[in-house]
Amino acid sequence: MTLTASLPDADPTALRRFLQGLPGVDEVGAVGRAASLATRSIKTSSKSYAIDLAIRMVDLTTLEGMDTPGKVRALCAKALRPDPTDPSTPSVAAVCVYGDLVDIARAAVGDACHVAAVATAFPSGRASLAVKLQDTADAVAAGADEIDMVIDRGAFLSGDYARVYDEIVAIKEACGSAHLKVILETGELRTLDNVRRASWLAMLAGADFIKTSTGKVSPAATPPVTLVMLEAVRDFQTATGRTVGVKAAGGIRTTKEAVAYLVLVNETVGEQWLTPDLFRFGASSLLNDLLLQRQRMRTGHYSGPDYVTID
């Protein structure tokens, strides 16, 4: 691929030229492709496989002003044992909380699951770099092994790509061994061209994962946005050899939607990405729908919402 030779360093002009020189995204075409993949019919054994895989990919999330230690402990219990009636149900990938609740979450889950913290003045990202770095360092010190940072959308939209880049590099350093997920907040970037550029920018700066949304802005994750991000990680791997994950977060509530995302992953980047190490769902209510469908596949009938736990 021609991109390898021309990957930019941190030089602002080179970076800008590179990002603006990426192939455009035709929105009508991308939306059409995502819609056509959503018509795949996933039944029986492949549905069972997809449901378990989706459960293992969930970052079970609570990001509310009203979060308390009690709420977080309940969430952690659910993360480890999503369906108490069926011990064969896999655990989720991670719990995702605000930084000040990381210690509670870590104590609750031990080493049995990842603890992800949102950091860097989530969700708006409107704070100084020093504050963002401190936010990150605190979360890592409290036991977070995954950091979900937000990019500075204001800087991105004003064309100051270097500022966004430098910030990601600095946060990545503050993460130490913790995995860094970079939230693009695609609902504020608006165009798919921007989504492609922001994806490359985050990956060049060292992101381990690129993530669609905070969940606080509508629209959050959509299939076309996720498609463009998957194409970006695929092309980035071809260009650099480095493999980056994708997290679709916000607005995914049903099993049907989740399975459609797995189809999107399967047919865009292939099976390599069909693992919790490289694809995640950021969600809260999705898990219970997955569990209801899982019970249905097992028993042959639908139970009701009282047969899954609310946490």
Binding site: M1, V25, D26, G29, R33, T39, E271, L274
Partner: protein, 497 residues
């Protein structure tokens, strides 16, 4: 463990195929006068689906007589509003029965159910709805103050989109007040016969729509029948030329929609991922059995390798197999004869020095199949760059400048469609003005809509189907004289472009 999609077949039980079908003449199914029949086959399994009648001269006479009487006594004198009422009713019935018709189309044609369900059937209904709206507004369509129908239309359609081609022919003819005798292709008669049933269900008076099944001879008898006023044909250029010769010296009006060898042109500033989708949709949609298929891919040399790599990766994900499976992308080739023609032309590509790449799809044991195939290193001199293959075979050529792209794209006896892929709007307009093709798609391909006229330049035929322009070939008016179908078709389309 890998993410295998379990089989997800659409249920076949929704269709009820009779053991044998007669001819639909004057509102009834009747046996052919000389009792001849032929089988129709599911090309995915080679199973015989049913036996249909082969119409002979007597049957053609009978059908044209019925159409003439219906034209003179019922449909011609009927008000546009009442004609529209019947057309709306037919459109609604097509929608209501769309699942059944999609399954039937897939069984008889071999196309994937996903396409029959999501493309063919919605367009079929849309065509009837659109033309139903025109039925009482013809005096405002720009064909003079009182355009009149022509009379009896003889219509012969191909096997690639059986019901959709029927809709393209029957809907405008009926909306304009003509009656029709239609002959579906011999390999795909079943949905046309189901449409006959829908006409009865809609209480359409007898004789307005007549369906004659048969092969080439039946078609020839029909178009050459002296009491036919209008002939509309969609099919191969060779047959179109025969029809035109046969009609020379008569007063019959003619519109032809024939073959194509469309160029799909990708510039170096194209949206690559979407262009790859467009290339796939351009040539592998409906197994490439599409007259406007983007069968010649013209790549700007500076991005040729990159696009080809992406294309091959994408083609490796195509799912070929049981057309009734909802996850199938590539279905069966419609007939043994067509499969043989595809093999013959593809082999000529090898012989003439092009490089063949085949998508890694296993082929089923029974039925007629051809894997998605890409030839690189093709030049304008190769047969696979000049002749219509009508199968899932893409010929890749390269160009250096926009002028060269125009020159190569137009350098074909055909002129049905073209595709342009670039993020630069001014270049799209510059190219579209220079394409000698009836339809030019920009950053998309194989998109159809009943409001948009469709038809060809040069050996791709003349006359337009769809849009206001598509009414012209079925109307007699102050501005349309007996030879003017061609001029109207071209003139209006060029203005619209």
């Amino acid at each position: 463990m890998t993410f295998e999609y379990a089989p997800a077949p659409e249920s076949r039980s929704i269709v009820d195929i009779a053991d044998a079908y007669g001819l639909f003449i004057d509102g009834q199914f009747v046996d052919p006068a000389d009792g001849r029949t032929f089988p129709t086959v599911n090309p995915a399994t080679e199973e015989i689906l049913s036996t249909v009648a082969e119409a002979g001269q007597q049957d053609v006479d009978r059908a044209v007589r019925a159409a003439r009487r219906a034209y003179e006594q019922v449909w011609g004198p009927m008000s546009g509003r009442d004609r529209g009422k019947y057309l709306y009713r037919i459109a609604r019935l097509l929608q209501e029965r769309s699942r059944e018709l999609a399954v039937l189309e897939t069984l008889d044609n071999g196309k994937p159910i996903r396409e029959a369900r999501d493309v063919d059937l919605p367009l079929v209904a849309a065509h009837f709805f659109y033309h139903a709206g025109w039925a009482d507004k013809l005096e405002h369509a720009g064909f003079g103050p009182a355009p009149r129908p022509l009379g009896v239309a003889a219509q012969v359609i191909p096997w690639n989109f059986p019901l959709l081609m029927l809709a393209w022919k029957v809907a405008p003819a009926l909306a304009c007040g003509n009656t029709v005798v239609l002959k579906p292709a011999e390999t795909t008669p079943l949905t046309a016969l189901a449409f006959a049933d829908i006409c009865r269900q809609a209480d359409l008076p007898p004789g307005i729509v007549n369906i004659l099944t048969g092969a080439g001879d039946t078609g020839r008898m029909l178009v050459e029948h002296p009491d036919v006023d209008k002939v509309a044909f969609t099919g191969s250029t060779a047959v179109g030329q025969q029809i035109m010769r046969g009609l020379a010296g008569t007063s019959k009006r003619l519109s032809l929609e024939l073959g194509g060898k469309a160029a799909n042109i990708v510039f170096d500033d194209a949206p690559v991922d979407e262009a790859v989708e467009g290339i796939v949709n351009g040539i592998f949609f409906n197994q490439g059995h599409v007259c406007c298929a983007g069968s010649r891919l013209l790549l700007q040399e500076s991005v040729a390798d990159e696009v080809l790599t992406s294309l091959q990766r994408r083609l490796s994900t195509l799912r070929l197999g049981d057309p009734l499976d909802k996850n199938t992308d590539i279905g069966a080739i419609n007939s043994a004869a067509q499969l043989e023609r595809i093999h013959e032309l593809a082999d000529s590509g090898d012989a003439e020095g092009a490089t063949r790449w085949t998508a890694p799809c296993p082929l089923p044991d029974r039925g007629y199949w051809f894997p998605p195939t890409v030839f690189t290193g093709v030049t304008q001199a190769h047969r696979i760059a000049r002749e219509e293959i009508f199968g899932p075979v893409l010929s890749v050529l390269t160009f250096r400048t926009p002028d060269e792209a125009v020159e190569k794209a137009n350098n074909t006896p055909y002129g049905l469609s073209a595709g342009i892929w670039t993020e630069k709007g001014s270049r799209i307009l510059w190219m579209a003005q220079r394409m000698r093709a009836g339809v030019v798609w920009a950053n998309t391909f194989n998109r159809f809509d009943p409001t948009s006229p469709f038809g060809g330049y040069k050996e791709s035929g003349f006359g337009r189907e769809g849009g206001i322009q598509g009414l012209g070939p079925y109307l007699d008016s102050d501005v349309v004289d007996h030879e003017a179908t061609v001029r109207i078709g071209f003139g209006v389309t060029e203005v619209a472009r």
